[in-house]
Symmetry: C3
Subunit: 347 residues, 3 copies
């Protein structure tokens, strides 16, 4: 469907940073065409099977991936590893090697979702995906894991481009020089780093200036910060981190307000959700509201959903005229169809 077609066939997608800028643009371009012609690609995975492994439950991700497979003519199986006898340090069961090798015989691709609370430390989910990718002979796609959420990142920039540029055409230069504010929000959910880290990475690949605003003690993964910094330099953009939320809003074109966990969320091999929530709720002023949005350059409000309304953002902003949340959510479907088509279609 594109010049790079074939180049991406068989490729995993664990983080957008591991795809070239050209490959990402091809995926976005295809996603835009798939949005315009919703049922025009039903031959792509005709009668093929895609496996979805949900170590963590999900609504949006399950709905959009299963819908994506259906609209490509195939079928996504909803699998929950709690019903799988996988080998662990403590229990007998099947190795990832055996599971992945057999699944490769049945399916055209495998999606995996695993978040913080199913891990004993940050990064363990990412390692599991790479273990699957090592043994599987079909593409592995992250459906959100503790470090990254590549399909969310693609949906984000697709949505921002639609709102800031002309609709119906993906212009990769629309986001260049625009300021993306990644604002920490307080909240009762102790959320993952995956979506925010992915947004910073792909935003900076498209030339956006990135500002991360968070209270002290809420640093993100230093390696991802370093990658983002380097992406910005490569594309002539600025990168900054601040604890001053008001300063962050000034001149922003895209405001991304979301809660995320602190680096101290794990202790003794366990994810401490309750402690994180208590700590986060102390920062009641860290919320996106109309007053703060007034400081921006007519910014759009974005969020990967589900939103914790009243904590991360006020209702009037989330449901306001500059909120792109439903379009971004819809784009999950289109980018996932594009990724599956490019990586999994049989020649």
């Amino acid at each position: 469907m594109n010049d790079t077609k074939g180049k991406l066939r068989g490729r995993d997608l664990i983080v957008t940073q591991e795809w070239s800028r050209e490959e990402l643009l091809d995926a976005l371009d295809l996603a835009v065409r798939m949005k315009q012609d919703r049922l025009g690609f039903t031959h792509v995975l005709k009668d093929r099977t895609f496996f979805m492994f949900f170590y963590n439950p999900s609504v949006r991700t399950r709905q959009s991936f299963e819908c994506a497979a259906t609209e490509l003519g195939g079928h996504a199986q909803f699998l929950e590893p709690k019903s799988m006898r996988l080998k662990t340090a403590k229990t007998a069961g099947e190795t990832v090697e055996d599971a992945a090798k057999v699944m490769s015989r049945y399916a055209c691709g495998i999606g995996v979702r695993i978040l913080e609370d199913k891990c004993s430390r940050y990064g363990e989910g990412d390692e599991l995906l790479r273990e699957y990718a090592k043994w599987a002979e079909v593409p592995i796609v992250s459906m959100a894991h503790d470090k990254f959420h590549p399909c969310q990142g693609l949906a984000d920039v697709m949505g921002w481009t639609e709102w800031l540029g002309p609709k119906g055409k993906f212009d990769p230069d629309i986001l260049k020089g625009r300021k993306l504010l990644m604002a920490w929000g307080h909240g009762a959910l102790a959320r993952s780093w995956c979506s925010v880290q992915e947004a910073m990475l792909i935003g900076s690949r498209l030339g956006m200036d990135i500002t991360v605003a968070a209270p002290e003690g809420y640093d993100l993964d230093p390696e991802v910060i370093d990658w983002t910094n380097r992406n910005c330099k490569t594309h002539g953009a600025r990168f900054e981190q601040t604890h001053d939320l008001t300063a962050g809003y000034k001149g922003a074109h895209v405001v991304y307000s979301r809660n995320w966990m602190s680096p101290g969320a794990y202790r003794d091999g366990e994810f401490r959700r309750q402690e994180e929530v208590e700590k986060a709720l102390k920062h009641a002023d860290w919320i996106c509201d109309a007053d703060k949005m007034a400081l921006t350059d007519n910014a759009i409000f974005t969020h990967p959903m589900p939103i914790d309304r009243g904590h991360e953002v006020t209702d009037d902003v989330a449901s306001g005229p500059r909120s792109c949340i439903y379009d971004v959510a819809e784009n999950r479907l289109h980018v996932q169809k594009a990724v599956m088509a490019l990586t999994m279609e049989t020649p």
Copy 2:
């Protein structure tokens, strides 16, 4: 497929009472044609997605809705909200507004099932469906909720018509003037009002005389009784309520024997199943058996299934030659296909 096509596109189905008589007849007519040509409608939802939300588990409903989507060429996703982080009075999570708006981007329609025991009072399930309907941009279909069960009602009258009239053609006048007995049955399940209320409503729209026979203390929803009464008047039929089971059977053409809860089933915001069961089991004589069936005008026996055999009805009646239960159950598939086609097909 019909004169009303287009008129029903985009419409919700929460109770048959909210569709015109003509619209119901169109749905039944299409269902009959779909039964005759089982795989003749596979283009209708080709490669589209239908979401099924099961707040309560189910066998028949899940099987028949998922099968209906498949036979229309589409796919039904089986979703259980226990794995959804929906906002409640007590917990952070997503609002119905956000959930419904995003789902409308992915799916051609949404089915919802929520029964008594997931509610804190009678009517709460109905309110939830109307909240979904308020925000969704695609049709909401009840897959049984605390007040109504429209697809069961359609399957009931389709089955009765097949048994009492010529097969293969839906004649809307077959049921006119026939006596429908809604007989309370004792049992160990403390069942919902939804199926019996729906049967009374749609039966009376088709001109049936309705008799409700139940022990004292088992009144149904007064508003539904009132609607039924008015439907009967509109169509020149009789409506009566009695505590005399024997009198109820006399001259009946259709006998519907099923347990239902009492109006006192909730206390302090909880559904008291065990108390209801204990209370119901005291009425051991409230069972449909051959002696009572002998009082009727060669009535057929009907039940929405699953049957609590030995409580609601004896085996010899349930499996006897005048039992239409399996045909009614099969019709669930056909009427649901018809409803989905009429409300959800893309022009």
Copy 3:
């Protein structure tokens, strides 16, 4: 698709022993053709529904059956009876008669999986399948039950034939006179008799010499042993049972090493997994390793997976050049497609 087509339409598959040798060969022949032309049979169950009842969870079986239905153009519904209100000795609910009769109206076939730990004694699962088969008007297929696992047996002999004979053509005489060693392995899972019993039965139908090697106290079902013995006599093959593992390996062409439970696994109506595991782990020398494989006639290693590596077999054998495990696992898909096509396709 074959001379016997039509003969098998509507047939149940509960154990291969109940199909004629010719019928089994037809199924294997079709499976080989389906493997060669993976997406060439998508019309067979086009837009039809297959029900999968998992009383026990499963990975391989669920993946391969659901994938099979998809690749035949249909859809497999994943159903877990824990969410079904089926009647039991203790609880109200629906009878198997009612459930099976209604499901026959919706689906083209029904698969059932029920293993030891969901039964109160050996054989109860088999009885449940036969109860379903009694009432259903569509084929019942075992997806593994306490006694048998017919699709695993078909996949086994298909894989062994591929490895021991020419690829791409199913020659029913390849296995004739080859020695199949069924070796008990120690392990931490207390496994079912179903796969090993099925392998003995179908192997002996294809003329293999069968040796069962197990420690004292690990006899299999005497009726199955008797059938295997008779199969061997019919086809001029040898059958022997031994407690001498080393003797068993000598001259083997196919080595099947797997744990299985003892005949004393049930007590007071309960399956005693933990006791079985403790008893089994005492036999640490009952493992398939390179030294033992060296005693064979260049045997292939086979296993129905998932493998309990380090207990049933060493890694170097399981992942070695003579291991056919992934091919056998893949064949599950192909034989299940063939069985579904032969028994469930509408004329």
